[in-house]
Every structure is written in structure tokens, then in C-alpha cells.
Symmetry: C2
Subunit: 425 residues, 2 copies
Amino acid sequence: MAAETTVRIGLLGFGTIGSSVYRLIQKEHGQIVEATGVDLQVVRILEKDVNLERPGVPQDLFTDDIRTILEDPSISIVVEVIGGIAAAFSFVEAALMAGKNVVTANKQLLANRGAHLFELAKDMGRQIRFEASVGGAIPIIRVMRESMIAADIHTVFGIVNGTTNYILTAMYRGEGGYAETLKRAQELGYAESDPTDDVNGADAAAKMAVLGSIAYKSRVTMADVDYEGIEKVTAEDVAYARDLGFVIKLIGAARLVDDRVSVRVYPALVPQSHPLAAINGSYNAVFLQGHVIDEIMLSGPGAGGRQTASAVVADIVSIVSTKTAGFLQNCSCYKVLDFMPAEDMCSAFFIRMKVEDRAGVLAQIASAFGEQQVSIQSMIQKGQGDEAELVLITHPTVERGFHAAVEKIAGLSSSKGAPVFMRVL
Amino acid sequence: MAAETTVRIGLLGFGTIGSSVYRLIQKEHGQIVEATGVDLQVVRILEKDVNLERPGVPQDLFTDDIRTILEDPSISIVVEVIGGIAAAFSFVEAALMAGKNVVTANKQLLANRGAHLFELAKDMGRQIRFEASVGGAIPIIRVMRESMIAADIHTVFGIVNGTTNYILTAMYRGEGGYAETLKRAQELGYAESDPTDDVNGADAAAKMAVLGSIAYKSRVTMADVDYEGIEKVTAEDVAYARDLGFVIKLIGAARLVDDRVSVRVYPALVPQSHPLAAINGSYNAVFLQGHVIDEIMLSGPGAGGRQTASAVVADIVSIVSTKTAGFLQNCSCYKVLDFMPAEDMCSAFFIRMKVEDRAGVLAQIASAFGEQQVSIQSMIQKGQGDEAELVLITHPTVERGFHAAVEKIAGLSSSKGAPVFMRVL
């Protein structure tokens, strides 16, 4: 079948993702023409070092001058896979102003400057698509934007960071503590040499900002997300959780409660029977819950060059096949929703603490919880010499009350060290 | 925000799905305008009994004459939710010929007459969309058609019938045998009063024909699908499977092997650790596997009026927001692929048989398998008086050889009754 439309693409960046996008377009070219009638051609690649030899890629595609791309009227789509915020922002902004459509895989860019770019795209009558920014080949953005129009979504939650899931899975399987499994993840390429943004929750937070923005048609930026990582999760926590029937996962959750938005990332105890407990290694999974659909789950490998490239290519084809601007792509209907203070949210908690092993201590602790209307669902107590370790799971409770109770308990003379606590899904 | 586009809809059928579509469009009208700029209006409903009072629905919307809809030039989209094949086919055909776009939830129609309707839609420059035909609110069709353009899918498999999954889940949980749990499913509304098409695999087969057609851009009709149901699955099979670490599920699988297509539906043993084992009750789940994406899974409630209506509404909005005809929607690139004979496929098998409990019998059986290059992975033997029950799991093997071995074993003088066998996922 002959191509109906030729689409000329300017590619910004030729790292892991950029080169995967280029190779995928070459490899699947015939398949894409056949399936869609679109003849995709990468005609320019922006890279600092234009003289580096890259086998299989014509040297004359490379340029180190963004203007070569911006000023070429035959280029209709710019694919940004440079990463980082500053340069990527300037390039994407300039591309939209030059009348190009944009595909980006850059969650940090969107989580920090998305509002401006979406607005600009709308004003220019152009599209900005970003499936690859969250969940690799899992088409979560498309599903939320295009299939959940009437679904009345109120909760989006799941596992959106592969590195931390890899580490937590290894810890659960007893393959070592946090530092040890992180080191192995780095050796195997599941964690970067600087894993900071993954393990401290920032990567997941940026993704949840993107998902929260779309789910509730609001503007959620990085600064609006409460996040914590897995650095403090110990092998002991994992073992206790397992004994109680739970797996620890780094959970991202974007909820709409009484027309207020809450977007958070935190390690949580997930029941072993919950489908998220079966999402292991570097896999990601996202649940969408709404009154109309009940819930659907999407899962798959969370990242990887090939998978991300597949999402970029699908975005390119979508731009060609949908009407420019207007609804779905650049919705002009963003609402300014308030955020729900974290302390007003309800959660169940796991708490682990060391106390003196003597009469009356348990009563003090129970009364501290009782005063704050925190009720206990289950408890394990282990003696260790003259100390006892208490592990409790609470029923869902307002977080403010739980934190007040923990503060009081930490201050008791019978308390040995600060209690460790985590939410329960 | 004011609506940018008014879309007038003719609704064919006002049963469970039709009335859910109507109600959803009324209830989420403001939300849909806000999110998409599209003002959806159901202006005509085709129903036999136009005089029946239906609370909340203006009487004058109803007509018993399809021409009222076909000849109204202001109606741009016809939604077919009548079900059945003959009338639905005539109406959809006439709607396309009258220049309307079509949304249908009718898997039987597509599995039997889809090729003709897709061709007609292309010739008329109109769209036919059918997300609701498979998996309720799970957007599997959209994901396959629009997000997997360059994913090189080679396998689509999963659980696509909610009724049988409900029954098998109940049997696994020890709530009774097949007949008993089917009866309870009917009482609770999870199975229809005539459950034939669900329990014999025909419903799942129609859905797999639709998925196979899209995945491999080929034409898979109902007649091309090998299917069997769950009527013969016994409580004993379920119990043995559980002891061996498996759950029995009704699996639909569409595979591309050496450029040939195989689409089948059969009950199979699924390892308890496999994500499909956690898909319980009336939930559905579909895995997509391809070289580029590895695999992604989508799951959710398989049917239900609200969920199906949500998929119909998303299809309506998609028609408005994508360019008419052409690629993605009505791909003109269907290939005529050969089908892979079932006997040439490879599967592992579970087999259960009663034999005389005497020396030499096991050797006969082992040799029957050995002659066909079928190797055994695990075995349980139980004595029952002068009979023994043998339960075996084979390694993956060409099905032709397995069937030849089973035939030989059934003919042995030591064999007591026909062996029972099922595939292993």
C-alpha cells in the first residue's frame, strides 16, 4: 500500500530513547505505512556532537543548531527526548511557536512547566502529546484522555517507578537490604548510576503530577505533590509486612476528594492478594477507578528504550490522524482545583516501635491512639530482652490524628527510638 | 465552556446497554462538553414498542421506523446496541450507506460480518468503532489500533468472558460444582437465563475473532476460531489443578506464528503466580505481547451496562475528534493470512486418567507418550481400590503428537474410561 501522508520529523536528542525512536521508525517503517498510511521520516536530529559516527544513521541528519529544525517548514513534528528541564523547555516552546506539533517523553518538563506548554499549544492550534512520559509502552495517557471521557475517574493509583519496584521486589524475595539490592539494580542496569530521583520518589511524583493533571483536568505541578521515597525502608519492615500478609510497594496516588485533589507518592503495604502485589521487578501498573467503570488496570514494563520508543511512535501517528488542536488534545477546560491537605486524608497505617517491656506500656500506647480515634486492626508483639517490639496495623484514620498519636507515643518515657510507620493500601 | 460541535445521534435499541448509553450521555453531558467541546444529543431511538412509557425519556424520541433515522441528515452517528446478527447487520449497512458513522457493541455482528462492514465503511469514507464489543470499559480495541502501531504484536491472550470466569472462580473457591455455581451465577445476574453462548465458548470466540482481526490486520471470522467451553470442567479437575499449583481459566488466544494466525478458546490451567490467576469473578483481562513492548496487560470488569456505555460514549467522541475514514479507523490494508492448524500448535497439557493399578501399566503409558516425543513434567498417582488415578502435566509439545498418544492410551486394555485433558498456559 502506498503512503497517503508523509510526515517529516525533527528529533531532539539521540541518547537511549532518541536512538530507539530512530531505529524503531526505520525498522517498522513498512508496517507503519501499511497500518496507518503514514510515511514517517526523521529528517533532522539535534545533537551536540554532530561529527560522532553512528553506524546506520546518515551523518548529514545531525545538526547542532535548533534553528535548522525550527525554520524547516517541511518538518511538522518535533520529538523532544533530550530530558532535563531548561533546554527542553526552550526547545519545545520554540517548536510550538514555530507551528510544529510536539511529542515529548519528558515527565519533569511536564510536571514543572506543563501548564504553560499546554496553553501555548492550544493558542497555536497545535498538539503536544506525551504518552512516553509515564509508564513506557503502557498507554495510560491515551486511555485517560480518550477512553475515560465519561468515566468519572476519582482515583488513579499504582506503581509508576520501575527502579524502586525492582529494589522492593528483590528485598521482598529476601535478596538483601536496601543498599545491597540498589547496588545490584545498578549493576544490572535497572537503576541509574545516580539513582537519587528514583529512590527518593521524585520521578514517581513527576509522573503522578502528569496523571493527576489529566485525570482531573487540573494543573498539578511537582510542587503540589507530597512525596517520599524508599530510602528508609528496611529489610525488617519488609519481613514484618510479609508476616502480616503484605508486600511493600512505592505507590503513587492521585485522588479527587470533595472536588479537591490530592497527589502523593509513598511506600505502602499492599495486601499480597491485591493485583499490585503481583507487579514485580521493573514493571509498572496503574489503576483507574471511577463510578462508571468501577476500575481498570493497565500494566507492563515501565520503561526501556524500545517500549518508550513505541509510545513515541504511537503519539506521532496520533497527531497525524486526529484533528489539530481543540478537544482531547489540548483541552481548554482546565479547572483550578484546590488541593486536599495531606493531614486531612484518611489512611490505614503500619507502625513498628520499640518500647520497654513492662506492665502498663501497652495501655499508654493504646490510650494515645484512642485519644485520636485511631483504632487498631492487628498487632504483633515480640520480646527482645527488656525491650519489646510492637507492630500494629490501624484501621483507616484521619492522618492528622495518627500523626498526633505517634508524636505522643514517641515522647513516652517507655519509648525506645522513633516509631517507623508506613501507609497501608 | 460552550460546546464547539453538536453531534446528533440515532440510537438503535433501548435494552440494558441502550438505556445505559442514553442515561450516561444525559448524566455526563456537562462533563463531556467540558472535556471535549462536544455536545452529544440522542435525537432518535429505534424500538419496537414506541408507546411504552420510559421514565425520564421523552416519548417522541422513539420510532419504530429505521428510515426516520437513516433519512435524517442531521444525524451523523448511529449507535447499534440491538444485538443479534440479521437486523443489526441490515441496519448498520444501511447507516453506513446513508453516510453515517457507526458505533456498535455487537461482537457477533463483527465476528460474522465484520469484513463486509469494514470494507463498506472505508468505501463510504465513514468510521465504524466497536470498543464496547470486547471487554466492557477496558479500552483494548483502541489500545491495539492506536497505541500498538509499531509494537509488532504476536500474541493476544486472556480472559474475555465474565460469566465463565465467575463460575470458574466460584469452583476454585470450593463453592460447588459446575451446574451448581452456574445456577448461582444466574440467580445473581452474572449469567443469563440462557447461558449457552457464554459457557460453550462462543461469546469468547467472537471476541477473539475481533481481537485477532485487529492484532494481525487480517480477517478472522467466527468460523476461523477453534473454541470449546467450560461445560466439562469438573470440581475434581479444579481440585487437582489447585493441588498442582494452577487455577483453571477459560483462555482466548490469538497468535501469529510464522505469518499464520491461530485463534482459539479453551479452558486452561494457569499457574497461581500468573497475573491472570488473580483475575477473578466476572473480571476480564487481556495480555498483548510483542517484540517491541514485551507485554502489557489491561484488566477490568468485562461487561455491565455502565461500563459498556462508557466505551460507547468514548467511541462517539473519538469519531468526532479524528479525521474521517482513512488510516487507523478503516485500514485499507487487510492481509489475507493463512490459519495455523490447531494440531500444529505447541502446548503443554494436563491429563487425568483412570487405569488398572498393576505393574507395567505406567510403562505402557510412558511409552505411548515417548513414541510421540511428549515428555512429562510432573505426575501424581492415587490408588483407588484396584484402580489408580494418574494426573500428569507435560512439557510443551506439538498437539498432534499429544492427541495421538492420548488416543493410544485410551485404547489400552488397562485404561478405564476416556482420559480428561486440558492445556496449560
